[in-house]
Protein backbone atom coordinates (compact mmCIF):
# COMPACT_ATOMS: atom_id res chain seq x y z
CA UNK A 1 0.00 0.00 0.00
CA UNK A 2 1.37 3.39 -0.83
CA UNK A 3 0.45 6.99 -0.47
CA UNK A 4 0.18 9.56 -3.23
CA UNK A 5 2.34 12.67 -3.12
CA UNK A 6 -0.83 14.76 -2.75
CA UNK A 7 -2.01 12.79 0.26
CA UNK A 8 1.47 12.88 1.77
CA UNK A 9 1.53 16.67 1.35
CA UNK A 10 -1.92 16.95 2.98
CA UNK A 11 -0.84 14.87 5.95
CA UNK A 12 2.37 16.85 6.43
CA UNK A 13 0.40 20.10 6.30
CA UNK A 14 -1.98 18.66 8.86
CA UNK A 15 0.92 18.04 11.23
CA UNK A 16 2.15 21.59 10.72
CA UNK A 17 -1.34 22.95 11.35
CA UNK A 18 -1.49 20.94 14.56
CA UNK A 19 1.90 22.30 15.60
CA UNK A 20 0.78 25.85 14.88
CA UNK A 21 -2.29 25.46 17.10
CA UNK A 22 -0.21 23.92 19.89
CA UNK A 23 2.40 26.70 19.63
CA UNK A 24 -0.35 29.24 20.18
CA UNK A 25 -1.91 27.13 22.93
CA UNK A 26 -5.18 27.17 20.98
CA UNK A 27 -6.35 24.04 22.68
CA UNK A 28 -10.05 24.31 21.93
CA UNK A 29 -9.27 24.48 18.24
CA UNK A 30 -6.86 21.59 18.62
CA UNK A 31 -9.69 19.57 20.18
CA UNK A 32 -11.56 19.90 16.91
CA UNK A 33 -8.76 17.91 15.28
CA UNK A 34 -9.21 14.80 17.43
CA UNK A 35 -11.55 11.85 17.19
CA UNK A 36 -14.03 10.95 19.92
CA UNK A 37 -12.01 7.85 20.79
CA UNK A 38 -8.63 9.58 20.70
CA UNK A 39 -5.81 8.75 23.08
CA UNK A 40 -3.02 11.21 23.91
CA UNK A 41 -0.08 9.45 25.52
CA UNK A 42 3.28 10.67 26.78
CA UNK A 43 5.22 7.84 28.47
CA UNK A 44 7.48 8.70 31.41
CA UNK A 45 10.31 6.24 30.78
CA UNK A 46 12.33 4.39 28.19
CA UNK A 47 10.96 0.91 28.85
CA UNK A 48 7.90 -0.07 26.89
CA UNK A 49 4.88 -0.41 29.18
CA UNK A 50 1.15 -0.90 28.99
CA UNK A 51 -0.20 2.58 29.77
CA UNK A 52 -3.44 1.01 31.00
CA UNK A 53 -1.55 -0.51 33.90
CA UNK A 54 1.33 1.84 34.64
CA UNK A 55 2.10 5.48 35.26
CA UNK A 56 2.69 7.91 32.38
CA UNK A 57 3.36 11.62 32.15
CA UNK A 58 0.04 11.98 30.34
CA UNK A 59 -2.40 9.27 29.30
CA UNK A 60 -5.67 10.93 28.36
CA UNK A 61 -8.83 9.93 26.59
CA UNK A 62 -11.07 12.66 25.22
CA UNK A 63 -12.75 13.27 28.57
CA UNK A 64 -9.47 13.80 30.36
CA UNK A 65 -8.16 15.93 27.50
CA UNK A 66 -11.16 18.20 27.87
CA UNK A 67 -10.58 18.51 31.63
CA UNK A 68 -6.91 19.18 31.05
CA UNK A 69 -7.65 21.85 28.46
CA UNK A 70 -10.29 23.46 30.68
CA UNK A 71 -7.68 23.73 33.41
CA UNK A 72 -5.02 25.09 31.06
CA UNK A 73 -7.46 27.69 29.76
CA UNK A 74 -8.56 28.77 33.23
CA UNK A 75 -7.54 32.34 34.12
CA UNK A 76 -6.05 31.15 37.43
CA UNK A 77 -3.73 28.48 36.03
CA UNK A 78 -0.74 29.61 38.06
CA UNK A 79 1.74 27.23 36.44
CA UNK A 80 1.10 29.04 33.16
CA UNK A 81 0.83 32.57 34.49
CA UNK A 82 2.47 33.97 32.45
CA UNK A 83 2.03 31.38 29.72
CA UNK A 84 4.90 29.67 27.95
CA UNK A 85 5.85 30.73 24.45
CA UNK A 86 6.22 27.63 22.34
CA UNK A 87 7.65 26.73 18.94
CA UNK A 88 7.45 23.22 17.50
CA UNK A 89 9.55 22.04 14.61
CA UNK A 90 8.24 18.82 13.07
CA UNK A 91 10.29 16.82 10.62
CA UNK A 92 11.44 13.37 9.50
CA UNK A 93 7.85 12.67 8.56
CA UNK A 94 7.20 9.13 7.38
CA UNK A 95 3.70 7.94 6.56
CA UNK A 96 2.45 4.38 6.66
CA UNK A 97 -1.03 3.67 5.31
CA UNK A 98 -2.96 1.27 7.53
CA UNK A 99 -6.21 0.99 5.63
CA UNK A 100 -8.53 3.00 3.48
CA UNK A 101 -8.75 6.05 5.67
CA UNK A 102 -6.16 5.41 8.36
CA UNK A 103 -2.49 6.28 8.38
CA UNK A 104 0.23 5.93 10.95
CA UNK A 105 2.68 8.84 10.88
CA UNK A 106 6.06 8.82 12.56
CA UNK A 107 7.93 12.09 12.90
CA UNK A 108 10.56 13.75 15.01
CA UNK A 109 10.10 17.06 16.72
CA UNK A 110 11.84 19.67 18.74
CA UNK A 111 9.98 22.22 20.80
CA UNK A 112 11.38 25.40 22.26
CA UNK A 113 9.68 26.77 25.34
CA UNK A 114 10.32 30.12 26.96
CA UNK A 115 8.84 31.34 30.20
CA UNK A 116 10.01 33.85 32.81
CA UNK A 117 13.35 34.35 31.12
CA UNK A 118 14.19 30.68 30.92
CA UNK A 119 14.24 28.70 27.72
CA UNK A 120 13.92 24.94 27.56
CA UNK A 121 14.36 22.62 24.60
CA UNK A 122 12.34 19.46 24.32
CA UNK A 123 12.42 16.91 21.57
CA UNK A 124 11.85 13.37 20.51
CA UNK A 125 9.39 11.57 18.31
CA UNK A 126 5.69 11.60 17.59
CA UNK A 127 3.56 8.72 16.52
CA UNK A 128 0.19 9.82 15.17
CA UNK A 129 -2.64 7.62 14.00
CA UNK A 130 -4.80 9.73 11.71
CA UNK A 131 -8.24 8.79 10.50
CA UNK A 132 -10.22 10.46 7.77
CA UNK A 133 -13.61 11.53 9.10
CA UNK A 134 -16.00 13.49 6.89
CA UNK A 135 -13.21 14.25 4.47
CA UNK A 136 -10.75 15.64 7.03
CA UNK A 137 -7.89 14.01 8.90
CA UNK A 138 -8.43 13.58 12.63
CA UNK A 139 -6.03 12.47 15.35
CA UNK A 140 -7.11 9.11 16.78
CA UNK A 141 -3.87 8.52 18.65
CA UNK A 142 -0.86 10.65 19.49
CA UNK A 143 2.15 9.29 21.32
CA UNK A 144 4.99 11.58 22.34
CA UNK A 145 8.36 10.06 23.26
CA UNK A 146 10.64 12.71 24.70
CA UNK A 147 14.33 11.81 24.51
CA UNK A 148 14.54 12.62 28.23
CA UNK A 149 11.25 11.06 29.30
CA UNK A 150 12.98 9.17 32.11
CA UNK A 151 14.31 12.43 33.46
CA UNK A 152 13.31 14.97 36.03
CA UNK A 153 11.09 17.85 34.87
CA UNK A 154 9.97 21.26 35.86
CA UNK A 155 6.39 22.12 34.95
CA UNK A 156 5.03 20.71 31.70
CA UNK A 157 1.64 22.39 31.58
CA UNK A 158 1.16 22.44 27.83
CA UNK A 159 0.52 19.89 25.13
CA UNK A 160 3.46 18.64 23.10
Amino acid sequence: MSISPTEAYEIEQFLYLEAELLDARKYNEWLELVTDDCIYWMPNGREEIDPEKEASLIYDDLNLLKLRIARMNHPMVHAQTPPSRLAHVVGNIRIQPEGDSVVKVRSNFTMLESRLGEQRTFGGSFEHTLRRENGSWRIAFKRIDLVNNDGVFRNLVFLF
Binding site: A55, L57, L67, V157
Partner: protein
Protein backbone atom coordinates in the same frame (compact mmCIF):
# COMPACT_ATOMS: atom_id res chain seq x y z
CA UNK B 1 34.16 25.50 69.50
CA UNK B 2 34.62 27.57 66.37
CA UNK B 3 33.02 30.98 66.33
CA UNK B 4 31.26 30.65 63.03
CA UNK B 5 29.46 27.50 64.15
CA UNK B 6 28.53 29.06 67.45
CA UNK B 7 27.13 32.03 65.63
CA UNK B 8 25.00 29.85 63.42
CA UNK B 9 23.91 27.76 66.40
CA UNK B 10 22.84 30.81 68.36
CA UNK B 11 20.98 31.98 65.32
CA UNK B 12 19.17 28.67 64.96
CA UNK B 13 17.75 29.26 68.42
CA UNK B 14 16.35 32.50 67.11
CA UNK B 15 15.24 31.31 63.67
CA UNK B 16 12.33 29.33 65.07
CA UNK B 17 9.82 31.44 66.98
CA UNK B 18 6.49 30.25 68.40
CA UNK B 19 4.46 31.27 65.36
CA UNK B 20 7.01 32.11 62.69
CA UNK B 21 10.13 30.80 60.96
CA UNK B 22 12.98 32.92 59.66
CA UNK B 23 13.54 33.11 55.91
CA UNK B 24 17.14 31.89 56.33
CA UNK B 25 15.82 28.44 57.20
CA UNK B 26 14.84 28.19 53.53
CA UNK B 27 17.59 30.23 51.87
CA UNK B 28 20.86 29.88 53.78
CA UNK B 29 23.25 27.30 52.23
CA UNK B 30 25.03 26.94 55.59
CA UNK B 31 21.79 25.86 57.20
CA UNK B 32 21.23 23.42 54.34
CA UNK B 33 24.69 21.90 54.94
CA UNK B 34 23.88 21.60 58.63
CA UNK B 35 20.59 19.87 57.79
CA UNK B 36 22.44 17.36 55.62
CA UNK B 37 24.83 16.67 58.48
CA UNK B 38 22.56 16.89 61.50
CA UNK B 39 19.34 15.49 60.07
CA UNK B 40 19.90 13.52 56.85
CA UNK B 41 23.18 11.94 58.00
CA UNK B 42 21.92 11.08 61.47
CA UNK B 43 18.29 10.02 61.44
CA UNK B 44 16.45 7.36 59.48
CA UNK B 45 15.98 8.23 55.82
CA UNK B 46 13.74 6.34 53.39
CA UNK B 47 15.71 4.56 50.66
CA UNK B 48 13.30 2.30 48.80
CA UNK B 49 10.63 -0.35 49.10
CA UNK B 50 11.31 -4.07 49.26
CA UNK B 51 8.88 -4.61 46.38
CA UNK B 52 11.15 -2.49 44.15
CA UNK B 53 13.90 -5.07 44.68
CA UNK B 54 11.76 -8.17 44.96
CA UNK B 55 14.04 -10.68 43.17
CA UNK B 56 17.61 -11.66 44.06
CA UNK B 57 19.89 -9.40 42.06
CA UNK B 58 17.35 -6.55 41.88
CA UNK B 59 18.75 -3.16 42.81
CA UNK B 60 17.87 0.50 42.76
CA UNK B 61 20.08 3.51 43.34
CA UNK B 62 19.29 6.44 45.61
CA UNK B 63 20.96 9.18 47.64
CA UNK B 64 21.05 9.81 51.36
CA UNK B 65 22.25 13.31 52.30
CA UNK B 66 23.55 13.54 48.74
CA UNK B 67 25.62 10.38 49.13
CA UNK B 68 25.06 7.72 46.45
CA UNK B 69 23.83 4.34 47.69
CA UNK B 70 22.53 1.11 46.20
CA UNK B 71 19.56 -0.78 47.63
CA UNK B 72 20.20 -4.36 46.61
CA UNK B 73 18.50 -7.74 47.13
CA UNK B 74 21.02 -10.55 47.51
CA UNK B 75 20.69 -14.28 46.84
CA UNK B 76 20.29 -14.79 50.61
CA UNK B 77 16.98 -12.93 50.35
CA UNK B 78 18.15 -9.99 52.41
CA UNK B 79 18.31 -6.36 51.30
CA UNK B 80 21.50 -4.39 51.64
CA UNK B 81 22.13 -0.65 51.49
CA UNK B 82 25.63 -0.14 50.13
CA UNK B 83 27.60 2.97 49.33
CA UNK B 84 27.58 3.21 45.55
CA UNK B 85 31.33 3.68 45.40
CA UNK B 86 34.09 1.36 44.26
CA UNK B 87 36.39 0.64 47.20
CA UNK B 88 39.44 0.87 44.94
CA UNK B 89 39.61 4.38 43.55
CA UNK B 90 36.24 5.88 44.37
CA UNK B 91 34.31 5.59 41.09
CA UNK B 92 30.56 5.40 41.32
CA UNK B 93 29.74 1.79 40.63
CA UNK B 94 26.23 1.84 39.27
CA UNK B 95 24.63 4.53 37.15
CA UNK B 96 21.31 2.87 36.45
CA UNK B 97 18.35 3.91 38.55
CA UNK B 98 17.27 0.28 38.75
CA UNK B 99 18.04 -3.13 37.33
CA UNK B 100 19.01 -6.69 38.07
CA UNK B 101 22.54 -8.02 38.26
CA UNK B 102 24.40 -10.80 40.05
CA UNK B 103 27.33 -8.48 40.54
CA UNK B 104 28.49 -4.89 40.28
CA UNK B 105 31.63 -4.34 38.23
CA UNK B 106 33.54 -1.06 38.22
CA UNK B 107 34.26 0.19 34.70
CA UNK B 108 37.60 1.63 35.75
CA UNK B 109 39.74 -1.34 36.87
CA UNK B 110 37.19 -4.11 36.80
CA UNK B 111 36.83 -4.64 40.56
CA UNK B 112 33.73 -6.76 41.06
CA UNK B 113 31.30 -7.11 43.97
CA UNK B 114 28.35 -9.34 44.70
CA UNK B 115 24.87 -7.98 45.34
CA UNK B 116 25.62 -8.06 49.07
CA UNK B 117 28.68 -5.91 48.40
CA UNK B 118 31.14 -8.77 48.98
CA UNK B 119 34.28 -8.30 46.92
CA UNK B 120 34.36 -11.12 44.41
CA UNK B 121 36.87 -10.17 41.77
CA UNK B 122 40.07 -8.15 41.47
CA UNK B 123 41.79 -8.39 38.06
CA UNK B 124 45.55 -9.00 37.93
CA UNK B 125 45.74 -9.36 41.70
CA UNK B 126 49.27 -10.80 41.48
CA UNK B 127 50.77 -7.34 41.81
CA UNK B 128 49.28 -6.93 45.24
CA UNK B 129 51.46 -8.24 48.08
CA UNK B 130 50.64 -11.83 49.07
CA UNK B 131 49.34 -10.66 52.45
CA UNK B 132 47.24 -7.81 51.08
CA UNK B 133 43.84 -8.18 52.72
CA UNK B 134 41.08 -7.75 50.15
CA UNK B 135 38.34 -8.51 52.67
CA UNK B 136 38.75 -4.93 53.82
CA UNK B 137 37.31 -3.88 50.49
CA UNK B 138 33.82 -5.26 50.43
CA UNK B 139 31.47 -2.46 49.43
CA UNK B 140 30.82 -0.48 52.54
CA UNK B 141 27.37 -0.94 54.01
CA UNK B 142 25.61 2.03 55.57
CA UNK B 143 25.74 1.65 59.36
CA UNK B 144 22.06 0.89 60.02
CA UNK B 145 19.25 -0.49 57.86
CA UNK B 146 15.71 -1.33 58.94
CA UNK B 147 12.43 -1.96 57.24
CA UNK B 148 8.77 -1.89 58.19
CA UNK B 149 5.94 -3.17 55.97
CA UNK B 150 8.49 -3.18 53.14
CA UNK B 151 9.65 0.43 53.54
CA UNK B 152 13.45 0.30 53.84
CA UNK B 153 15.11 3.08 55.80
CA UNK B 154 18.79 3.64 56.47
CA UNK B 155 20.84 5.74 58.85
CA UNK B 156 24.31 6.97 58.02
CA UNK B 157 25.02 7.16 61.74
CA UNK B 158 25.92 4.00 63.68
CA UNK B 159 24.28 5.43 66.80
CA UNK B 160 21.16 7.39 67.46
CA UNK B 161 17.45 6.96 67.80
CA UNK B 162 16.30 3.36 67.19
CA UNK B 163 14.11 2.65 64.17
CA UNK B 164 11.12 1.93 66.41
CA UNK B 165 11.62 5.23 68.22
CA UNK B 166 12.03 6.99 64.87
CA UNK B 167 8.66 5.71 63.65
CA UNK B 168 7.02 6.33 67.02
CA UNK B 169 3.23 6.65 67.25
CA UNK B 170 2.98 7.74 63.60
CA UNK B 171 3.55 4.10 62.68
CA UNK B 172 -0.16 3.54 63.25
CA UNK B 173 -0.87 5.52 60.09
CA UNK B 174 1.71 3.60 58.09
CA UNK B 175 -0.04 0.40 59.18
CA UNK B 176 -3.38 1.78 57.98
CA UNK B 177 -1.90 2.65 54.60
CA UNK B 178 -0.58 -0.86 54.03
CA UNK B 179 -3.58 -2.53 55.70
CA UNK B 180 -5.71 -1.01 52.95
CA UNK B 181 -4.30 -3.88 50.90
CA UNK B 182 -6.41 -6.99 51.54
CA UNK B 183 -3.22 -9.09 51.51
CA UNK B 184 -1.45 -6.61 53.79
CA UNK B 185 1.27 -5.73 51.28
CA UNK B 186 1.85 -3.12 48.63
CA UNK B 187 3.77 -3.41 45.36
CA UNK B 188 5.50 -0.19 44.41
CA UNK B 189 5.81 0.95 40.81
CA UNK B 190 9.38 1.00 39.53
CA UNK B 191 8.49 3.99 37.40
CA UNK B 192 8.08 7.10 39.51
CA UNK B 193 6.94 10.49 38.34
CA UNK B 194 9.94 12.78 38.69
CA UNK B 195 10.00 16.52 38.98
CA UNK B 196 12.18 19.17 40.51
CA UNK B 197 11.92 22.79 41.56
CA UNK B 198 14.27 25.65 42.40
CA UNK B 199 13.42 26.01 46.06
CA UNK B 200 13.94 24.45 49.47
CA UNK B 201 13.04 20.84 50.25
CA UNK B 202 11.01 21.78 53.32
CA UNK B 203 8.47 23.56 51.12
CA UNK B 204 7.31 20.21 49.71
CA UNK B 205 7.23 18.64 53.17
CA UNK B 206 5.05 21.50 54.43
CA UNK B 207 2.87 21.78 51.37
CA UNK B 208 1.90 18.15 51.75
CA UNK B 209 0.36 18.92 55.14
CA UNK B 210 -1.03 22.27 54.09
CA UNK B 211 -4.79 22.30 53.68
CA UNK B 212 -5.04 26.05 53.63
CA UNK B 213 -3.63 26.42 50.11
CA UNK B 214 -5.69 24.10 47.87
CA UNK B 215 -8.59 26.34 46.90
CA UNK B 216 -6.17 29.08 45.86
CA UNK B 217 -3.20 27.25 44.42
CA UNK B 218 -5.34 24.63 42.71
CA UNK B 219 -8.23 26.87 41.71
CA UNK B 220 -7.86 26.10 37.99
CA UNK B 221 -7.91 22.34 38.59
CA UNK B 222 -10.86 22.42 40.94
CA UNK B 223 -12.81 24.56 38.51
CA UNK B 224 -12.02 22.23 35.63
CA UNK B 225 -12.83 18.97 37.42
CA UNK B 226 -15.87 20.00 39.48
CA UNK B 227 -18.27 18.49 37.00
CA UNK B 228 -16.29 15.29 36.53
CA UNK B 229 -17.33 11.99 38.06
CA UNK B 230 -14.61 12.13 40.70
CA UNK B 231 -14.14 15.81 41.43
CA UNK B 232 -11.14 17.11 43.27
CA UNK B 233 -12.29 20.20 45.06
CA UNK B 234 -12.56 21.94 48.39
CA UNK B 235 -16.07 23.18 48.80
CA UNK B 236 -16.02 22.97 52.57
CA UNK B 237 -14.17 25.66 54.44
CA UNK B 238 -10.77 24.41 55.58
CA UNK B 239 -11.56 25.62 59.09
CA UNK B 240 -14.47 23.30 59.53
CA UNK B 241 -13.07 19.82 59.19
CA UNK B 242 -10.34 17.49 60.22
CA UNK B 243 -7.46 17.61 62.65
CA UNK B 244 -3.68 17.79 62.71
CA UNK B 245 -1.05 16.00 64.76
CA UNK B 246 2.58 17.05 65.06
CA UNK B 247 4.57 14.35 66.87
CA UNK B 248 7.60 15.18 68.97
CA UNK B 249 9.84 13.35 66.49
CA UNK B 250 9.00 15.49 63.45
CA UNK B 251 6.32 13.36 61.79
CA UNK B 252 2.92 14.86 61.06
CA UNK B 253 -0.57 13.67 60.23
CA UNK B 254 -3.45 15.68 58.83
CA UNK B 255 -6.75 13.83 59.18
CA UNK B 256 -9.96 14.18 57.24
CA UNK B 257 -9.16 17.38 55.44
CA UNK B 258 -12.00 18.82 53.45
CA UNK B 259 -12.15 18.07 49.77
CA UNK B 260 -10.29 14.76 49.84
CA UNK B 261 -12.76 11.91 49.41
CA UNK B 262 -12.40 8.71 51.39
CA UNK B 263 -12.08 5.41 49.60
CA UNK B 264 -15.66 4.70 50.56
CA UNK B 265 -16.91 7.80 48.89
CA UNK B 266 -14.87 7.69 45.68
CA UNK B 267 -17.17 7.23 42.76
CA UNK B 268 -17.14 3.70 41.40
CA UNK B 269 -16.77 4.87 37.84
CA UNK B 270 -13.36 5.56 36.42
CA UNK B 271 -12.63 9.22 36.35
CA UNK B 272 -9.97 11.77 36.98
CA UNK B 273 -8.80 10.10 40.16
CA UNK B 274 -9.12 6.41 39.38
CA UNK B 275 -11.65 3.88 40.53
CA UNK B 276 -12.37 2.51 43.96
CA UNK B 277 -14.68 -0.39 43.46
CA UNK B 278 -17.31 -2.11 45.52
CA UNK B 279 -15.45 -5.37 44.81
CA UNK B 280 -12.45 -3.94 46.63
CA UNK B 281 -14.49 -2.99 49.69
CA UNK B 282 -15.81 -6.56 49.81
CA UNK B 283 -12.35 -8.13 49.59
CA UNK B 284 -11.03 -5.79 52.28
CA UNK B 285 -13.92 -6.69 54.58
CA UNK B 286 -13.21 -10.38 53.98
CA UNK B 287 -9.56 -9.86 54.92
CA UNK B 288 -9.96 -7.50 57.90
CA UNK B 289 -13.51 -7.88 59.11
CA UNK B 290 -16.36 -5.48 58.38
CA UNK B 291 -15.67 -3.01 61.16
CA UNK B 292 -11.96 -2.66 60.53
CA UNK B 293 -12.46 -2.44 56.77
CA UNK B 294 -15.01 0.32 57.25
CA UNK B 295 -12.66 2.17 59.57
CA UNK B 296 -9.82 1.96 57.05
CA UNK B 297 -11.94 2.95 54.07
CA UNK B 298 -13.60 5.90 55.75
CA UNK B 299 -10.45 7.58 56.98
CA UNK B 300 -8.32 9.84 54.87
CA UNK B 301 -5.10 11.46 55.98
CA UNK B 302 -1.76 12.77 54.80
CA UNK B 303 1.19 11.25 56.64
CA UNK B 304 4.65 12.84 56.66
CA UNK B 305 7.56 10.76 57.93
CA UNK B 306 10.20 13.40 58.47
CA UNK B 307 12.44 14.15 56.70
CA UNK B 308 11.84 12.58 53.29
CA UNK B 309 8.72 10.41 52.91
CA UNK B 310 5.12 11.63 52.51
CA UNK B 311 2.00 9.56 51.83
CA UNK B 312 -1.22 10.21 49.93
CA UNK B 313 -3.03 6.91 50.34
CA UNK B 314 -6.26 8.03 48.65
CA UNK B 315 -4.21 8.22 45.45
CA UNK B 316 -2.11 5.14 46.25
CA UNK B 317 1.04 7.23 46.00
CA UNK B 318 3.89 8.39 48.19
CA UNK B 319 6.54 10.99 47.47
CA UNK B 320 10.25 10.79 48.25
CA UNK B 321 12.01 14.10 48.76
CA UNK B 322 15.63 14.47 47.71
CA UNK B 323 17.26 17.76 48.69
CA UNK B 324 20.00 18.73 46.23
CA UNK B 325 20.90 22.18 47.54
CA UNK B 326 19.24 24.90 49.60
CA UNK B 327 17.19 25.94 46.58
CA UNK B 328 16.97 22.79 44.50
CA UNK B 329 14.86 19.74 45.30
CA UNK B 330 13.96 16.58 43.39
CA UNK B 331 10.73 14.74 44.12
CA UNK B 332 9.79 11.25 43.03
CA UNK B 333 6.18 10.11 43.20
CA UNK B 334 5.68 6.36 43.47
CA UNK B 335 2.31 4.82 42.78
CA UNK B 336 1.68 1.42 44.34
CA UNK B 337 -0.65 -1.53 43.99
CA UNK B 338 -2.63 -2.95 46.90
CA UNK B 339 -2.05 -6.70 46.91
CA UNK B 340 -5.35 -8.51 46.98
CA UNK B 341 -7.32 -5.59 45.56
CA UNK B 342 -8.92 -6.09 42.15
CA UNK B 343 -6.30 -5.80 39.40
CA UNK B 344 -8.51 -3.46 37.42
CA UNK B 345 -8.65 -1.08 40.36
CA UNK B 346 -4.88 -1.16 40.82
CA UNK B 347 -4.41 -0.62 37.08
CA UNK B 348 -6.72 2.36 37.27
CA UNK B 349 -4.92 3.94 40.23
CA UNK B 350 -1.52 3.61 38.55
CA UNK B 351 -2.81 4.76 35.19
CA UNK B 352 -4.33 7.84 36.82
CA UNK B 353 -1.48 8.56 39.26
CA UNK B 354 0.02 11.12 36.91
CA UNK B 355 -3.18 13.10 36.62
CA UNK B 356 -2.46 15.05 39.77
CA UNK B 357 1.19 14.35 40.41
CA UNK B 358 3.18 14.23 37.18
CA UNK B 359 5.11 17.25 35.89
CA UNK B 360 2.21 17.68 33.47
CA UNK B 361 -0.37 17.08 36.20
CA UNK B 362 -3.40 18.95 37.34
CA UNK B 363 -2.09 19.65 40.82
CA UNK B 364 1.62 19.37 41.30
CA UNK B 365 2.72 22.09 38.84
CA UNK B 366 0.79 24.82 40.64
CA UNK B 367 2.41 23.78 43.93
CA UNK B 368 5.81 23.99 42.24
CA UNK B 369 4.91 27.42 40.93
CA UNK B 370 4.16 28.46 44.51
CA UNK B 371 7.47 27.03 45.77
CA UNK B 372 9.40 28.86 43.08
CA UNK B 373 7.64 32.09 43.94
CA UNK B 374 8.63 31.59 47.59
CA UNK B 375 12.27 31.18 46.58
CA UNK B 376 12.14 34.41 44.61
CA UNK B 377 10.17 36.35 47.21
CA UNK B 378 12.58 35.29 49.95
CA UNK B 379 15.39 37.05 48.14
CA UNK B 380 13.93 40.10 49.84
CA UNK B 381 15.76 40.36 53.15
CA UNK B 382 13.65 43.13 54.66
CA UNK B 383 10.65 41.01 55.63
CA UNK B 384 12.21 38.19 57.60
CA UNK B 385 9.46 35.83 58.68
CA UNK B 386 7.20 33.09 57.35
CA UNK B 387 4.03 32.89 59.40
CA UNK B 388 2.77 29.65 60.92
CA UNK B 389 0.13 31.03 63.26
CA UNK B 390 -3.07 29.25 62.31
CA UNK B 391 -4.78 27.74 65.32
CA UNK B 392 -2.13 28.72 67.85
CA UNK B 393 -4.89 29.85 70.19
CA UNK B 394 -6.67 26.53 70.07
CA UNK B 395 -3.93 23.92 69.88
CA UNK B 396 -3.52 21.33 72.59
CA UNK B 397 -0.68 19.12 73.69
CA UNK B 398 -1.57 15.43 73.66
CA UNK B 399 -0.61 12.64 76.06
CA UNK B 400 2.73 11.95 74.33
CA UNK B 401 3.72 15.58 74.00
CA UNK B 402 2.36 15.83 70.48
CA UNK B 403 0.80 19.05 69.20
CA UNK B 404 -2.83 18.72 68.16
CA UNK B 405 -4.94 21.11 66.12
CA UNK B 406 -8.73 20.86 65.79
CA UNK B 407 -8.88 21.65 62.08
CA UNK B 408 -6.97 20.35 59.08
CA UNK B 409 -5.88 23.84 58.07
CA UNK B 410 -4.60 24.70 61.53
CA UNK B 411 -0.82 24.68 61.85
CA UNK B 412 -0.09 23.03 65.20
CA UNK B 413 1.71 20.28 63.31
CA UNK B 414 4.07 22.70 61.56
CA UNK B 415 4.95 24.31 64.88
CA UNK B 416 5.71 20.87 66.32
CA UNK B 417 7.78 19.96 63.29
CA UNK B 418 9.90 23.07 63.64
CA UNK B 419 10.37 22.47 67.36
CA UNK B 420 11.78 19.09 66.39
CA UNK B 421 13.89 20.64 63.62
CA UNK B 422 15.35 23.14 66.04
CA UNK B 423 16.08 20.42 68.58
CA UNK B 424 18.05 18.19 66.17
CA UNK B 425 19.84 21.10 64.58
CA UNK B 426 21.05 22.26 67.99
CA UNK B 427 21.81 18.71 69.21
CA UNK B 428 24.06 18.09 66.22
CA UNK B 429 26.55 20.57 67.52
CA UNK B 430 27.35 18.27 70.51
Amino acid sequence: MNTATTQTELQIEDLVRPDRIHRRVYTDPRIFDMEMERIFSKTWVYVGHESEVAQPGDYKTARIAGQPVILSRHQDGKVYVLYNRCMHRGAILCRESLGNSRFFRCIYHGWTYGSDGGISGVPFRGAYAPDFDFSEFNLMQVPRVASHRGFVFASLSPTGVSFEEYLGPAVEYLERIVDLAPDGEIVVSRRPHQYDYASNWKLQVENFSDFYHPSFTHESSFAATTQSSTPYNSQVSPDERGATIGYTNGHTVVENPSGVPTRLSSAPAEGFRGATTAEYAVSLAAARGEAEAKRLLSSVFHLVLFPNLVFKHDEQTFRVIEPISVDHTVIRVYAYRLKGAPESMNDSMLRRSGNWASAAGFGQPDDLEAFTRVAEGLQAKGPEWLIFARGIHRQTIGPNGEHRGPAAADEAHFRAQYQYWKKVMLEGEG
